[in-house]
Each structure stands twice: as C-alpha cells, then as structure tokens.
Amino acid sequence: MSQAFSPAKQCERRLATVAVLWIAFLAWPLLAGNDYVLSLGVYFFINLLLIGGLNLLMGFGGQISLCQAGFFGLGAYVSGVLSVRAGWPPHAGVAAALILSTVSALAIGLPALRLRGNYLAMATLGFNAILTVLFTELVGLTGGPNGLSGIPPIILAGVDFGSPQRFYYLAWAAGGLCMALLAVFLSSRAGRALRAVAASEVAAASMGINAFNAKLLAFMFSAGAAGLAGALYAHFNQYASPETFNFSASVLIVVMVALGGWGQYWGPIFGAAVFTAVPELLHKFQDAELLVFGAGMIVVLLFLPQGIAGCVAPIATRIAAGMTLLARTRATRP
C-alpha cells in the first residue's frame, strides 16, 4: 500500500481496464444467441449512461438529483420529436438531445444548485414533474400518453442501425466513451475539485475551488449523459412513452447508483447490470417480484454500504495482486 500513488497512473489503469472490458463486451453479440438477449446488452449501456452520469453528480459530487429520468425523457423526446415531426435526420436529433439536455441542466442548475441537500432534490423533482406533464400533455408533439411511435432508426454514414446487432455497437461506444470520460475527469483537477466539494464546501473554497461551478459542471454532465441515453433509447425502441421517465424512474436510478456503489468508479457497471438483469431474473416471482426486489435492496443497503462495487473491488484487487504474483513466479521459473 505504501507504494507511490499517482492519480495519473490510476487514470491510466482505469482506462486500460475499460478498454479490456469493452473489448470483451464486443463478444456479447456472438454470445447472445438472439436479438432479445442482445437487446439487453443495449439496455445495459443505456442504463450505464444514466447511472454513470448520476453517480458523478451524486456519488462524487454529493448532490441529490431526482431528475435523471426527466433528462432521459428529454433526450428521448427531443430526438424523437425532431425526427418524427420535423424530419430531422436521427443523428442530428441525437446531437440536439445531448445539447438541449445539457443546456436545460444549466438553466435549472443556475438557480437550483444554490440550494443544498433536500432543497436541490426538491427542485429537481419539481422539474421532473413538469417534464412528465409536458411529455404527457403536449399530445401534438409527443403523442401524449400513447407515446411517440414511428421514431426512425439511426442511419450514420449509410449504415442503418435499426437492428439490435448494429445498434449494439452504437450503445457500446457511447457507454465506453462515458466510462473513459469519467475516468479522465475523476483523476483531473476538476474531478478532485468535485470530490472535495462533496466532502466539505468549506475546505474546497479554502483551496480556491469554486464549488458552484464544480457542481454545475457535474450536473450538466449527468444531464448530458442522460439526454444521450434517452436519444439512443428512443431510436433503438423507435418509441417513447411518458411513464418511462417519471419521478419513480428517477428514484429508481438513484437507488441503482447506491446499489452499484456510491461514488465508486466501477459502481455504475454493477448498477446498470443489476438494473438490466434483475427484472429478467425476478420474472418468475410474478406478483412477488417487487417484494423480492425491495427486500434485496434493503439487504444490499444494510450489509453492503459501499454497494456492490465496494464489496467486489477489494476482492478484485486481491485477485489481481495474486495473478500478478503468479505471473511473476511463472516468469521467473526456468
């Protein structure tokens, strides 16, 4: 433990691990066997964007937002409506979704991030509620409660990403990009500043850190990631409906951040895996599904306060150390 520690090296290690992981993820379409299982992979990456973005804001920045599903929906509807109603090419819609969700986070964040703790939670929750009403009631644009159907698939450079096989690679790239950006950001000056703000705004200010800017940046990043996730979601399902993006969904994303590992770099991977896989696994419990889910959540919160990542990461480190040792002994053997 006493070896020299370096954030730059930590960043490189994380990037390398992400690279290896993402190369491994390339095998999913081969393993998946059918489009349904493959589509779970797509949802995994979309959830990763949602949870990873929120983990930056909540886990590392200590700011509670109950609007992640709102930004998710904003992304989905902006891109969906632009391509369905205005005939924009889908990739332009995706870009617009990314920009608009980030900008609306700026607009909400400017007043809201001056509030602390529960007040920020309330303000974001209110914004989510307003967005839900808009998604539901602007029937002419969004299709209302029936949802927006007929969203075209993404076509980039002549490649049609309509099928899950192709779309998987888009989601894969977006998820990987998000994790890489997070790795770089967390080991940077701005990332440190954000973590400092979460622990003590007083300490941060005494280091010359503008706490407000740090929080605003994290809020915009989390909203941007959610907006991108939403746009991808809309073009993948070619459909969006309002109840996917309501307050309960926001609460669930918060829960997934905690289950994966609050403020843990690898947390979102676990959170997204749980979020994607658990409904499939609990399916056989039928009516008791929710109960099993709630009980499981209590167990994780009580006994794994660091989330799944906090429990798995030390084991993984130990295994890594063991493997390195093994590799070395093998190498030194004649």
């Binding site: 070896q3 730059a8 770089v184 940077s188 000056r189 701005a190 440190r192 973590r195 622990a199 850190i209």
Partner: protein, 286 residues
Amino acid sequence: MASLQIDDLCVDFGGLRAVNALGFTAAEGTIKGVIGPNGAGKTTLFNAISGFVRPSRGSVRLDGIDISTLASHERASRGLSRTFQNLQLIPDMSVLENVMLGSHASLRAAWGASLLGLARREELAAEALALEKLELLGLADRSAVPASDLGFADAKLLEIARALAGCPRVLLLDEPLAGVPLEEQNRVVEIVRAINRTGVTIVLVEHNMRVVMQVCDEIVVMHHGAWLAEGSPADVAQSPEVIAAYLGTAHGAAPGTAPGTTQGTAAGAAYPQTDAAGHGTRGNHA
C-alpha cells in the same frame, strides 16, 4: 511574499459582536501570532480573513489590495491559504490527492480541458509538487492511503501540506498544535519555521504559549473580539493588561461577591443530594 493588513474589522452574529474593530498588520515574511482567551474571536477572525463569514465593517488587504469583497475561493486563488482548527480534509481521498487539491488554484487547465484529459503535463507537475510537500512534512510514504486513515497529528500536517501546495503568499494556521502529541510538537514548529523561511507570511493562532512565544515575530492579543495589545512576545508577556485578561482575572483576585447571578446563593442553598441508592431526596433549603 506579501503582507496582510486588517483594518477596523467587525463581525456580528445576530446581536453579538464577535470581532470588534480589530486592526493589525502581518508584515511580509514574518510570523504573526494571534492569541487571546477562548472565545476571544480568533477563529472568527480567520473566517473573516479567508472569506467564510462576511464582516459587517472593515477591510482585509493582501499586499495593499482590498480583498474583503471577494468570495473565499477567489481569495485562495490570490495566495491566501489556511488550515482549520477542526480538520477539513477530504476523508475518502488519498493523502496525495488531498495535497493536490491544494494546488487547484494554481493550475490553469480549464474545466473542459481537464474533462478531456488535455492537461496531463500540468497534472503530473502538480503530482510532483504535492509529493514534494508531503516529503517536507514527512508524509510521503503514506501518500496512497485515504486521509481518514491518518492519525490526528499526521492529519494536521497533511492540512499544512495541502495549504502549502497552493504556493501561498500568506498562510493562516489555526491551532496547528492542538491535539498533536508533545513529542511531535517540535517537528511541527520546525516545519512552520521552515515554511516561513521560504518567504511565506504566516498568521498563527495557537494556544500553546510556549510555542507562540518561541516562533512568532510579533503577537497581537485579542480580547472579546477587540485588539488588546500588540508587540514582540516579550513585550506582550510582560503587559499587565494581557496577563489580567488572558489569564482570567489574575489569580490574586479572591472569589468575592459577584453581582447579579449568584446573589441568591450567597448564603448557599444546600444541594438536595440523593442518597447512594438513588431514592428520594434528602434535605433542601438551608
């Protein structure tokens, strides 16, 4: 190198005036001690200087420039660093990163650039600087552990290292010795001197009088938020007002009658003592 000049500073909390028309100057490259009895307003003074509380009057000048309207983070970027009496470390961050935080203000990479990882060279430089400061304070071998793993004394040193990483021109130290075991106190004193030798102006609040008398070039004595005395350690120690105020009414003062509060008890109402078994009460008024 810089000087810190305080003029006519007042801080009010509700009806209470915690700092009252205080003024003093810490000259370039000196160590200025601020002493005073508990509750004299020393920490409030520090908070006002570093921008955590808003003074109701008066000014704080750094090198003659009035900084009293700046936010605390802006003051820090101008070279005004401080430590805290009750630590303000980032517990789950490594020791090294805590120190790197200190150099936040002196790094120039924009938010976007650091998000995209374009500031690598600067990062590595900051890392090297942080390690250097940790070595100075003898914490280099613990750079990888989370700050929460450090003992109290080491944590105090870490705070100083972090303040130093910002390459401050003026350093405010709030009780750097409080809670530091005797055997380590000398080390801290040496470090404070070493920092001062590099040209950093230091303002020091400390209860350990031996240390204050040893290291400070000049001492200002606060009492009830106000200026009471100022001068060399020797002068201050001799000043009868200081002895009277700082040490409580001097030990000569007999516990005499006090107006108001205690008159009713002068005769001494007997304490209604419960007996050992805890049942009932015994006796009441005298």
